[in-house]
């Protein structure tokens, strides 16, 4: 019974997940921004705050597990093409947004909170949020 539940949960998540997500090739962080290191990288204790910020600001478009929502055409944050980006590049994208493609700028959040979000994004894997 438990196995069937897990299979259905996975199937449901796959159905909603935006596996067809294609990154915008013009939305690239400048080299200087991409090489910035996360000042919170060694403070794993603050990732909980990042989760709270994610739930508050990102879930609506990216879904609870970060898998993206097909109807929103939003990025699947679990994909290697996202996770392979540097912390600095993710921070730059959160800060600037991509308003012409629907991603708002979150520069209104304090810098450290945006870095907290980057920390939390690193925890989003194919199994996260589907347990």
């Amino acid at each position: 019974m438990k196995r069937i539940t897990v299979i259905f949960a996975l199937a449901g998540a796959m159905w909603c997940q935006n596996l067809s997500y294609e990154p915008d090739p013009n939305w690239q962080a400048p080299a200087e921004a991409a090489t910035k290191a996360n000042p919170l990288a060694k403070k794993a204790g603050v990732v909980g705050g990042g989760k709270k910020l994610f739930l508050r600001n990102c879930v609506e478009c990216h879904g609870g597990d970060g898998g993206g929502l097909r109807e929103k055409h939003s990025a699947d944050l679990q994909l290697p093409v996202v996770q392979a980006q540097s912390d600095g590049a993710l921070f730059w994208k959160i800060t600037n947004g991509n308003p012409d493609r629907g991603m708002p700028s979150f520069s209104r959040l304090p810098e450290l909170q945006r870095w907290q979000l980057v920390l939390y994004l690193r925890t989003l894997t194919a199994s996260s949020g589907r347990e």
Binding site: R56, D100, P104, Q113
Partner: protein, 291 residues
């Protein structure tokens, strides 16, 4: 009588909190470069209460805002406003439709936003969402003021920067009354604000410092093309504080202090806003469309 109006104003503002609620910046007059998220609707209720000089009357001017993120770079907003003066009457003072456009897609050291607003108001309007031109008189009764209608076009150049978690915003205002020949009126607004904490805690808390943003506004009129300058103009300095009550709701408060004889000695401002996320998608679904 004045105390009764003040009490009534506070009660109405508090009731507003139960109904509505998330403006990130704590400002009441100054705009920064942050736009409404596309598809989100923010419903807000705010109040300007004017504490008068001797010989003037206390007034209470509430207004409702409906702010919608049309795209990531275009925000549109509708205002409905009213006013009640002690010993006088309560009147509907009109509506405003504002649009803000952000020409640059990326964050820069200075981020410009272009603002255009059409106002269909009357001379009884007291919300003072901006202060321009020369200071208005407060002596005439509402019955007379509300009969004088004004169609106005207001433009602003908004410049805003984020520097180490501080927001610094400057607004330059030009207003034209299309109903009367008053020339072009000018005004300004400056604001600085900062969150009280820059790290988010893991717990879901209401009174954590991270939920509060504090700052200061300075705004006033600069005369008109008929007489540019500070003569006979109103200016205010106003501490501002915003409290993010929940993910969707925020409360703001600002006591503005008048700096010139033409200003009200004190303006008390309360605001409450509630963010309806994905409003545009919900409406599209309602009419059978795809989000």
């Amino acid at each position: 009588m004045r105390l009764r109006y003040l009490t009534a104003g506070i009660i109405i503002a508090a009731l507003g909190c139960l109904l509505a609620a998330a403006q990130e910046a704590p400002y009441f007059v100054t705009y920064d470069h942050h736009m409404e998220e596309p598809g989100n609707l923010e419903i807000a209720t705010s109040t300007t209460m004017g504490v008068p000089r001797s010989g003037q009357r206390f007034y209470f001017a509430p207004y409702a805002e409906f702010e919608y993120g049309v795209t990531g770079r275009w925000t549109s907003e509708l205002y409905l406003e009213g006013q009640s003066t002690s010993g006088d009457s309560a009147v509907f003072t009109g509506w405003r439709w504002e649009n803000r456009f952000r020409p640059l897609a990326r964050e820069h050291f200075i981020n410009p936003v272009l603002y255009v607003e059409y106002e269909g108001i009357n001379e009884a309007s007291r919300i003072q969402k901006e202060v321009v031109g020369n200071a208005p008189g407060f002596g005439e009764p509402n019955s007379e003021l509300s009969q004088t209608h004004a169609h106005e076009l207001e433009t602003k150049l908004i410049l805003s920067s984020n520097v180490h978690d501080w927001n610094i915003a400057e607004n330059f205002i030009v207003e034209k009354n299309l109903s009367q020949s008053e020339g072009f009126e000018f005004g300004y607004s400056l604001g600085v604000a900062r969150p009280l904490a820059n790290l988010a805690s893991a717990v879901d808390c209401r009174f954590c410092r991270e939920n509060f943003t504090a700052g200061l506004e300075l705004y006033g009129g600069l005369g008109s093309t008929r007489g540019f300058g500070l003569h006979d103009t109103a200016h205010y300095v106003a501490p501002v504080i915003a409290w993010q009550i929940s993910d969707n709701a925020s409360l703001r408060f600002s006591p503005a202090i008048g700096l010139t004889h033409e200003s009200n000695p004190v303006l008390l401002r309360f605001g409450y806003s509630y963010e309806v996320r994905g409003f545009g998608d919900k409406v599209k679904r309602l009419f059978g469309g795809k989000p």
